[in-house]
Symmetry: C2
Subunit: 132 residues, 2 copies
């Protein structure tokens, strides 16, 4: 499988695959004699995991910090909480990202409040709407 097909199979582009490789998210695949990248099903699966985690708000740096244990964050790897030892997620990456998300949400919410105070008192229901 060359890069175009692998990318299509994973629902993305060749550019993205090379980008992941350059940034240490994807191990360098073997090459054909002429230097073209050759991927297998495992690679495609890993790319899917990468995309899922990125879409969850993790950054490239987060996933790079995970190293090869990226899979530990995967969908079916572990149930959310398996008992008093299952919390040992790789590097606490997800926890750090959660904290960063919390900080950003708090910052934006404060901003919204201050801006709203100037514009007028309409539409204060952000927090409520965010609870959906």
């Amino acid at each position: 499988m060359r890069i175009g097909d692998a990318a299509a199979a994973a629902g993305t582009t060749p550019r993205a695959l090379r980008f992941y490789e350059q940034n240490g998210l994807l191990p360098p695949p073997r090459r054909t004699a002429t230097g073209q990248r050759e991927y297998g099903h495992r690679d495609v699966a890993r790319v899917r995991v990468i995309r899922t985690l990125l879409s969850l708000g993790l950054t490239v740096a987060d996933l790079r910090d995970c190293g090869d244990r990226l899979d530990l964050l995967e969908d079916d790897a572990l149930p959310p909480y398996g008992g008093p030892g299952a919390c040992s997620r790789p590097s606490g990456v997800a926890e750090r990202r959660l904290a960063a998300l919390d900080a950003e949400i708090t910052r934006l919410t404060r901003l919204r409040e201050r801006l709203a105070a100037r514009v007028g008192a309409q539409a204060q229901g952000v927090s409520d709407r965010s609870r959906s």
Copy 2:
């Protein structure tokens, strides 16, 4: 008053003033015979307003869209709601930014929920904390 003093008076840097000028937030000031920018108190005041509005989450583009009526968003310009006509804020810039903030907050909150669902069920209190 040359750029360095004006910048200091407004609590920022010469670079920022030139940046604001290039981006249409600050009118081009008159120049000395040798081309150096000359600022007055009005300019300094305007820079302060610009910085306040930027710190409130408005973008440079927002303020540019406001044109010269930037002052209408200023602290003491109008009381928040002066009656059935006072809502006519310049270009609805603030309202649009408010909506954008809401959208971003909602997006991040959803992200947080999804990420938290993977990591475990701890620390769900973002919305609550954001209510402060």
